[in-house]
């Protein structure tokens, strides 16, 4: 059940007894893009020596909040005060000068430069007007040691692993003395031990009396670290809670805004159908290694794993988007799929995770977008049948409840949820028997999510089979009949029924294969 924010809100700490004003305070912070409000009336306080976590689903406004605080975007309304003084940052640089630094989620480093050069990029130390490499290497060494990163400052970033790159990025942020460090999903690309190391670094910052704003959707991390937790949902602030008062389940329900069980359609209790898609020994060089699985009729099969586990690449390989070595049987027939065209003809539809970059032509109208994959099916012969196209669009708008002001809008003018529904309609227009959906609800609001889950359940109840790849564990647990967990390109375990829990998924996603199997009886 969702909690009432008023009951749980921590008492305000800025009472008269506290001499020092809080490190950062926002009041009524609001951001609008045109008519769309992405963040409204957010007020948070961050104190020195405190870890304040911001949680919320994708699209809840977490990144917008961070970007406002760190000067990347400017608020439409509301105020930000640092140590009691109101500020208006026009650039990230101004925020840094005020002692606020953002550690980006994406790794933004120049691969062709050395570690030290990256650390000092844009603020090189000079002596007599020339860059002072000796001093920079010395300081780089110190900073890296402090972070427990053991690469040489002279190594090119290109040759450094992902986890170390993340540490270098943090090192960059900590090079100067800042008062407030903002972490944006810092552990998204890290594995077990590396996550531990990062959490220790964050706790050490707190000990040094710095303020930390920590954005993550890994609730176990939030629970371990956070002194305070602020929940955002659909751009609105739900409340700020003392960290120890919330269980992970409480946090999840606050983020979603309703009981989790109501979000997902009931699972089917029909016995498992015949095998539709059988993939054996699939290897996508550099991404997936010797993966085998079977997908049954009427089944939603989840693929869990961390970013970089090779899930997306595996399926891009299977549908002919990248080179793959695999045996694929569809309806018992061996298939050789060498191009996306052949996958569509065979009845395998793949819905990309990158809706805007790879899914839709944002500058095009809805109808051409809808029919792009199904041009051949809808238009036998050379020319386009625009009437067919209009009929298809009408049907899709109805069936998938795509809310549009006008059918002549461009796809880019739709909201994320409606874009996702359009993309789903586009893939289903090719009439696939197997539908592979990569991140079905990334960045869309809760009502659209629930609808998309219902559509997916309906698909399989009509005899199709569905693969869902998702980074949101709750989504996989709520939606899928069975979950395969990948780690470093291999399937590390399978769970179903009662055993589908966040901790089991997280365990299988990070633990070594041998360990996972050895402890399967105990843990999983």
């Amino acid at each position: 059940m969702a909690r009432d924010p008023d009951m749980q809100q921590t008492p305000p700490r800025h009472d008269a007894t506290q001499a020092e004003p809080c490190l950062l305070r926002t009041a009524n912070l609001t951001k609008q893009y045109g008519p769309v409000t992405v963040l409204s009336n957010v007020g948070i306080d961050i104190h020195a020596g405190e870890i304040h976590a911001i949680i919320g689903e994708n699209g809840a406004g977490k990144s917008t909040l961070m970007r406002l605080i760190s000067g990347y975007v400017q608020p439409s309304a509301g105020t930000i005060a640092v140590s009691g003084k109101p500020v208006a940052f026009a650039t990230p640089h101004q925020a840094e000068e005020a002692g606020i630094v953002l550690v980006h989620q994406e790794i933004l480093l120049a691969e062709g430069l050395s570690v030290a050069e990256n650390l000092f990029l844009g603020r090189e130390l000079t002596r007599n007007g020339l860059v002072d490499d000796r001093a920079m290497h010395r300081i780089a060494r110190e900073k890296l040691d402090e972070l427990g990163c053991h690469v040489s400052p002279r190594t090119l970033v290109r040759d450094v692993g992902l986890a170390d790159r993340q540490l270098i990025q943090i090192g960059r942020a900590l090079l100067d003395d800042h008062k407030l460090v903002i972490f944006d999903e810092p552990t998204a690309v890290l594995t077990g031990n590396e996550v531990e190391r990062l959490l220790e670094i964050v706790l050490r910052l707190k000990d040094r009396n710095m303020g930390v704003l920590y954005i993550s959707h890994r609730l176990d991390e939030v629970q371990r670290l956070a002194d305070k937790v602020t929940v955002l949902r659909d751009g609105k602030m739900i409340g700020t809670y003392a960290g120890h008062t919330l269980s992970q389940m409480d946090m999840a329900e606050l983020m979603v805004g309703r009981e989790l069980s109501a979000l997902y359609p009931p699972k089917s209790d029909a016995p498992r159908g015949e095998a539709i898609l059988r993939v054996s020994n699939a290897t996508v060089p550099g991404y997936a290694n010797d993966v085998s699985f079977t997908l049954h009729k009427g089944e939603i099969l989840g693929f869990a794993g961390m970013i970089g586990a090779g899930r997306t690449e595996l399926f891009e390989g299977i549908v002919g988007l990248r080179p793959v070595d695999a045996r694929v049987e569809l309806h018992g027939q061996p298939m050789a799929i060498r191009s996306p065209r052949e996958a569509i003809d065979a009845g395998i539809g793949y819905l990309t995770e990158d809706r805007k970059g790879k899914g839709l032509l944002l500058q095009e109208r809805l109808a051409p977008n809808l029919t792009l994959s199904a041009l051949r099916r809808l238009n036998p012969g050379l020319w386009l049948r625009k009437h067919q196209e209009a009929v298809a669009l009408d049907q899709a708008v109805d069936r998938y409840d795509i809310r549009v002001r006008s059918l002549r809008l461009h796809a880019g003018q739709l909201s994320g949820g409606n874009q996702q529904k359009l993309l789903l309609a586009k893939i289903l227009l090719t009439n696939p028997s197997v539908v592979i959906i990569d991140e079905p609800t990334r960045g869309i609001d809760i009502a659209n999510k629930a609808q998309i889950y219902t559509f997916i359940r309906k698909l399989v109840s009509e005899g199709k089979a569905c693969v869902v790849i998702s980074s949101e564990m709750q989504e996989l647990i709520g939606l899928c009949d069975r979950i395969l967990v990948m780690r470093q390109g291999r399937i590390n375990g399978e769970i179903a029924g009662e055993r589908m829990t966040e901790s089991n998924i997280a365990w299988l996603a990070t633990a070594e294969a041998g360990v996972a199997h050895a402890t399967e009886g105990g843990r999983v």
Partner: protein, 331 residues
């Protein structure tokens, strides 16, 4: 229940009031130019002058129709000028070779050879760009040099004149008229109409625009980028061949300077016609208007005394930059 289907009236209104300035821009510019021309020199609007100007713009217009395909599919072709010279040379040489045996039949045979040569040249460009995965700019810069060198070599640095016996029979292809309209104008209109049909009414046209608008989306939608772009270059080659066929009787010869800097005019015509240089939706009729605009400006400069006609290329250069700036800031 969908909002869209319950508000048909609203959707209708959209259709009525949706005037597309981007699409109309080149035609408005054309009208403005005509008005300016008339003010400067009333002879400018005479039927003779206009038909001369438009006839001269026909080569660029025909080639630019092909370039609209290449550019809207996300490519670029710098080799069109050299290719036109090369095909002109091949066509004349083949016709001259066939004259002793087949007489005047060598003209249609030569035209067929021109089209085949154009398709082959386009195919070479297309395959280098798509299969070879070379940047279109570099790939066609290379073939531009190759075609130019080949025509220089074939003509031994001089000219390749067409056989005397063919000259009279071939003349009407450039100088002839039907119902008072010069043949090159009719040919370019026909090419543009066919181009517009392919780009707007066929599956290929849709795929072409998709490949140019976002290569990833097209690929993920099961469209073969290699096939789509290669066909665009082949269409470009065929258009260059048609322009070459019209060009032969104008001078009656091919020379190493035939078609020099045509690529600049062609790309300018496409861009001022409203097609985005980065790919996406192409505007065939805008391209044709663009080609006419370029020739009109050159003509205006000759007829007026304000600017030296030696600066024609400079003015065209300014126009392409302005067109790009408009595209950039109107988004």
């Amino acid at each position: 229940m969908s909002v869209a289907t319950t508000e048909p009236g609203r959707l209708e209104r959209d259709r009525d009031f949706n005037f597309n300035w981007a699409a109309a821009g080149p035609f408005l510019a054309l009208l403005v130019l005509l008005a300016i021309g008339f003010v400067i020199n009333p002879d400018f609007l005479s039927a003779t002058n206009l038909s001369n100007v438009i006839t001269r713009s026909a080569f660029i217009a025909i080639i630019a129709v092909g370039a609209t395909f290449v550019i809207s599919s996300g490519g670029l072709d710098l080799s069109v000028g050299s290719m036109a010279a090369f095909i002109t040379g091949i066509t004349i040489m083949c016709m001259n070779m066939m004259v002793p045996n087949v007489g005047l039949w060598s003209i249609p045979a030569g035209m067929a050879i021109a089209v085949l040569a154009g398709i082959a040249c386009g195919l070479v460009n297309g395959v280098i760009v798509t299969v070879g995965k070379i940047e279109p700019f570099i790939a066609t810069l290379g073939t531009m040099g190759i075609f130019r060198a080949l025509i220089t070599y074939m003509s031994d640095g001089g000219t390749i004149p067409i056989d005397r016996t063919l000259r009279e029979a071939y003349r009407p292809v450039y100088f002839g008229t039907v119902a008072g309209i010069p043949l090159p104008i009719l040919i370019s209109l026909a090419v543009a109409a066919l181009g517009a049909f392919i780009l707007y009414k066929t599956k290929y046209g849709r795929q072409c625009a998709a490949a140019g608008a976002n290569e990833d989306v097209a690929r993920y939608s099961g469209i073969s980028i290699i096939r789509t772009r290669t066909i665009a270059y082949v269409i470009q080659g065929a258009c260059v061949a048609i322009a070459a066929i019209c060009y032969v009787p104008r001078l009656g010869a091919a020379t190493p300077t035939t078609g020099v800097l045509w690529e600049l005019q062609v790309i300018t015509a496409v861009v001022i016609g409203g097609t985005a240089l980065r790919g996406g939706k192409g505007r065939i009729w805008g391209t044709v208007a663009g080609a006419v605009i370029l020739e009109l400006i050159a003509n205006l400069m000759v007829l007026s005394d304000f600017v030296s006609e030696y600066l024609v290329a400079a003015v065209q250069g300014v126009i392409i930059i302005i067109a790009m700036l408009i595209q950039r800031f109107s988004k």
